[in-house]
Amino acid sequence: MPDLKTNLLLGAGAIALTQTLTLWSGALVPAAAAAEAPLSAAASEEGGEGGEGGGESGGVPASYALASTDPAQWSYDASAVIDGYVAGARGQYLAAAAAARTLQAEVDAFLEAPAQETLDAARAAWVAARPAYLRTEVYRYYDGPIEAVEGGLNAWPMNEAFIDYTKDAPQGGLINDPAFEVSEAAIMARNQATDEADVTSGWHAAEFLLWGQDLSAEGPGDRPFTDYEPGTPAADKRRAYLKATVGRIVADLDGLAAAWDANAPGSYATTFKALPPREAIGRIVNGMAVMTGHEMRVERMAVALDSGDQEDEQSCFSDTTKMDFVYDLEGVAAVYYGRTAGQQAPGVDTLMKTLNPERAARIDALFGEAMTRINALGDPWDRVLASAPDSPERAAAEAAVTTLGELAGEMKASGTDLGVLVQVPGL
């Protein structure tokens, strides 16, 4: 487990988070104040997902709470749900940071003694670290602390040739560029700076560094461990690059866990708990609805199905994209039902059962159906994308798209029950 004290004292991450909260509330503050933000930092801190990971709400409305002339309307008690959400976010990020630390240890061991066995162990640790992170993705899409670092932490799609050699560019990428000196700062400064696909950092950069290009329809990428044997300029830089990238993932997740610590004065968690209840509930429901209806359903699933490009999958180097869908939805369900990181608190479901039992029942059914459909997806996902237009694999994927849309639609409509604005345009 990560050391709590380290989290609290974590410098850089916490400062970045504070800055970004100011920036985000910049939707409502004078432009003069916003102009004080450092320009380059603003661009690199706030990138969305590669390809913009669009759909992010991009800012917060003046108020999530719907107006009513009846003071009794929407006067439900949400405090236990909000407390549970904050504790859940804290627990999920702690779990994600701990898993990333295991990855870091395995990467260090691999760099210490490059061999197929140690490379396999590092890859296995990457795969094992992902579920805990994926469960946290539901805490996106409002002015939460993740928005400060997401572009550097989980950006995709990525143009891997920007980082290292590929089949078509054997001497390509920053690693083979004599003018590029590897450091965390240099890596972060180039993230999505020249093109949205020019991703240099985060989970998928680490994935590419561990697996290499996925040139096979049958299995994942197969980079040789000898790429990391010290002694050549490129290998030495690759070693430093992998180490810096994984170190940054750990630091970001530590910073996020610290931001969600309700016992730390001035943390985002304390700010969140101090919000008027429906402002907090609005953020919670927007995170669930955008994650389900936009990010999973459209950005990652429908767009890939429409393009038919085998590379249109989030975790394309390791071929673990199906796992992304499963644990992302698990994260959404965990928030809705209040079951996060081994804790059980009242979830949004308890409010819905009172406010609109019929819709609550439909949401229950749709969560079950969505999980069934996602479990039924073909694996690996790139084989679904490569399948014929009328294949059963594609039909199964389209069915998942449909169900996720229905689930997100009910979440969006639940805004009228809960008295909050839910923004998922064009669903």
Binding site: V29, E52, S57, G59, E196, P425, L427
Partner: protein, 477 residues
Amino acid sequence: MAHGRYLAFGLAAAAALTAAGAAGIASSSGDGVRAALIGEKVTPMLGGDTTRVAAAGTSFTFLIENAQPGRLRVFQFGNRLFNTNWVQAPGSVKSFDGLGPYFNRVSCAGCHTFDGRGRPPENTGDPMESILVRLSVPGEDEHGGPKPHEIYGDQLSDRAIHGVTPEGRALIAWEELPGAYGDGTPYTLRKPLVTFADLAFGPLDGALFSVRVAPQMIGMGLLESVPEETLAALADPDDADGDGISGRVNMVWSPSAGTMLPGRFGWKANTARAIDQTTGAALGDIGLTTSVHPAQNCTAAQAACRAAFDQSAGEGPEISDAFLEKLVIYVQALAVPRQRGENDPAVVRGEALFRAAGCAACHMPTLKTGAAAVLPELANQTFHPFTDLLLHDMGPGLADGRPDFAASGSEWRTPPLWGLGLVPRVNGHDLLLHDGRARGFAEAILWHGGEAEGAKEAFRTMDSEDRNALVAFLGSL
């Protein structure tokens, strides 16, 4: 061939816009339309019902707020195309190959990163990542547009696929020009000095050229949907009202519609429709053919380019019509972000100063769409782009000396001001004007001349508090 579908669509849409405009405001005089639009109160919802609340690095990337059901999937696929790094044919995925032979960048987002704004290179000689050089020679093409250079064509291609030599490189150096505000505070402007290097086909002597940065992408569907009659009513080609400002509509060739239409996009309003802008950039900047531009971007003299294309060309255009349709909808449906800080006293005062200085005469605060629009969500909107979409003479300081259809060498389209305050967050710089010479709003204003000389002088002679308020207002947009 599928080209015909776009022709039909183009004419229908253009006719619909014309009819709607005629029904809506035909009875108004030009002055009445102008006065009514200037008098309209500006709200923070700069894009009307389409506005998104957004104040982050992703502010320009969002789908319009009032999108109809089902729009998201198409929009997001268009986004995927916009971000695609195109590769040389034959690539592993046939639908995403066809780069070059000549190109400037391999993706739309390479220049319009996060759907935002480009910039000149940081240092002289650095590669041009989000800015390009248009070329022509004196004279006109068959539609009255710029006459392409016989060898180099209408744009300098500084990159090319394997086996083809790029046309050359442009180098931008800067000349510092000192000046002073009315209160004596000094300032320095910088003017680009452009030279060429590594020219593959010999010198560009006698060519006309113009350096252009990639503008931000927001709100294009709204601007495309403004009725032609509104533009005609706002125009005052002979300065009949004697205010010293003579906006003109640039009538330009629309390759998709196959007719002349009012120009709305581009630094000289040299493009009429989003599909023309998109397909023109696809061909000129990335080397991708479409049904609108089926021929590759090689001149007769460029044998290696022609041979490379002939060898790799498959059936049909490199961007299929199915893809193109989604890409154009994406471009039309990118939302305008909400204004920030509208209640800040400096912003409120800045808007009053903006109007008093005469800026609003060209940077028209409000425009409207009628019942017909390129997407149904964009119909019947009142919105605040701060442009009249017309050509104005901006004086010798900004002149590029390169005519473009009706635009003279010193005329430019009034650029929209919406979203400019967010460019620093989206793209990490605050560089403005067609070639990115202005470092922030104040320098951009100080470059104004010609018809805007009076407004520029009003700003230059303001005290610093007023100047800061005006800049604060622009930053809130």
